[in-house]
């Protein structure tokens, strides 16, 4: 079984398999609230958005990591203790 590390997503402590991206970690954390949907950011008009391309091009997966806004979740590997903020509150769309 894969090893897990703990990080903080929208104020929730979650354990995710090591070696995955932040985008995968968010999917993992949101699976109970959103089913298969993943939400990362809000568009300028307020619409909820999630990862699309998975390869650093579309910019839809931007989240705040350790206080720094607009980091690409699909291009950032997780690290223990990371603090990740998405456009949703505790993984649930508002």
């Amino acid at each position: 079984m894969a090893e897990h590390i703990e990080l903080d997503i929208d104020g929730r402590r979650v354990a995710v398999p090591t070696g995955v991206t932040v985008a995968a970690a968010i999917a993992h954390a949101m699976v109970d609230t959103l089913g298969s949907g993943v939400i990362t950011r809000r568009s300028v008009s307020g619409a909820l958005r999630g990862p699309l391309c998975g390869m650093g091009v579309c910019q839809e997966c931007r989240v705040t990591i350790n206080g720094r806004a607009h980091r690409l979740a699909c291009q950032t590997p997780i690290a223990a203790g990371m603090r990740i903020e998405t456009a949703t509150d505790c993984g649930a769309p508002t």
């Binding site: 720094r68 806004a69 607009h70």
Partner: protein, 385 residues
């Protein structure tokens, strides 16, 4: 205007200045034909910052910018979200005691002339703008300054229902002013009772000898960081930089967009017409900005671009009749040369030009902006021309 009838005025250029003038003339019942070689607000107007700011380096600059800002504030309730009008105020940051002393003098002068304006000590500055670095001496706040998205405001001005009529023609380049009107690149002539030249820097191609020079500027826009910056912030040293007449200068100038994006300026360069973004100038500009906002290097930049301010020798626009003999149409008028303040001063300019063309009185003295003042400068060669 009815089909085939002669327009009263043909306005060359649909930048913020031409659009404001066309709007004002039509509001007085005139029929106005606007021609632009590209489209509405695609020239310098598209490149600028749209800060609506009272500037007071000279009494004439103050009179036009303060009055124009009032006109914008009066217009604002009718604007829509897409015009991005926000009365965010201006914070002028003082780096040291010397700038603080200069700010006190300015604050007093503005206050006396009826502009709301107060001093900020170091703690108040920090409270107003926490993203600024610690250790600044303080500053000055002008709460009624605002920002607007000028290209969409220009389109709005041209589209307003008014007593007269405005007809807008894009893709129509004026190549010459003739006895009866304006000749276009397609060989046709737009005949009109009067010609208003409002095509910014390119006016020099229609009226030879017009003393306008380009002052290049760089701007950069970031990703969205809502709440990080609340007012348009400038360093007090900006004025020194803005009025320099040679070389390259940079000053800290940041504007919060309603989207949360930050627009960062500014640079001034002479003797170039190359629109390319110059990495060295951009880097210098951003280093300057980072000295005031230490968190700036960590922000995501989206795009940088340049624009050319249409500058005159004395820093004031040319508003009024063209010099006698400089044009073949006997009723040729100018509204050009607004340099780095043309979005602000467009509305006052429009009132001044309409008053002159219609022989009415204007609320401020038009003399400092009359093109005729340059007659006396004719023999001097323009320092940057």
């Amino acid at each position: 205007m009815t089909q085939g009838a002669l327009p009263d005025v043909v306005v060359i250029g649909a930048g913020i200045v031409g659009a404001a003038c066309a709007h004002e003339l039509a509001a007085h019942g005139l029929s106005v034909q606007v021609v632009d070689r590209a489209g509405i607000g695609t020239g310098t107007t598209a490149a600028g910052m749209g800060h609506l700011v009272v500037m007071d380096d000279t009494p004439a600059e103050f009179a036009l910018s303060a009055w124009s800002r009032q006109l914008w504030l009066a217009l604002a309730p009718r604007l829509l979200a897409k015009h991005a009008f926000v009365r965010c105020g201006t914070v002028w940051a003082a780096a040291d005691e010397e700038e603080m002393a200069a700010a006190r003098v300015r604050q007093h002068a503005l206050q006396v002339q009826g502009i709301a304006c107060s001093m900020l000590d170091a703690a108040q500055l920090h409270e107003a703008e926490p993203a600024l670095r610690e250790g600044l001496a303080g500053g000055m706040i002008v709460p009624d300054d605002a920002v607007v998205y000028a290209p969409s405001a220009a389109a709005w001005l041209l589209a307003q229902p008014v007593a007269g009529r405005i007809e807008m023609r894009a893709d129509a380049q004026a190549v010459a002013i003739e006895r009866h009107g304006v000749r276009l690149a397609d060989g046709t002539t737009v005949a009109a009772g009067a010609v208003l030249v409002a095509n910014g820097l390119d006016a020099t191609a229609l009226l030879a000898g017009l003393p306008l020079v380009p002052k290049k500027g760089h701007l950069l826009i970031t990703d969205r960081y809502p709440g990080l910056v609340r007012h348009q912030i400038l360093e007090l040293g900006y004025i020194k930089s803005a009025h320099q007449s040679s070389g390259t200068s940079v000053a800290f100038n940041v504007q919060p967009r309603p989207t949360g994006q930050l627009l960062i300026g500014s640079s001034r360069q002479f003797d170039t017409t190359d629109p390319a973004v110059e990495p060295a100038v951009l880097a210098r500009m951003l280093r300057r900005a980072s000295q005031f906002m230490p968190g700036l290097p960590a922000l995501n930049a989206l795009r940088a671009w340049t624009g050319f301010r249409p500058a005159t020798q004395d820093g004031l626009p040319l508003i009024g009749p063209a010099l006698p003999g400089s044009s073949s149409h006997r009723s040729t008028w100018l509204a050009v040369g607004h340099e780095g303040l043309g979005v602000t001063t467009a509305l006052g300019t429009a009132r001044l030009i309409a008053a002159q063309m219609l022989g009415q009185a204007a609320p401020i003295d038009a003399a400092p902006y009359l093109p005729a003042r340059l007659g006396s400068l004719d023999n001097e060669s323009a320092p940057h021309g």
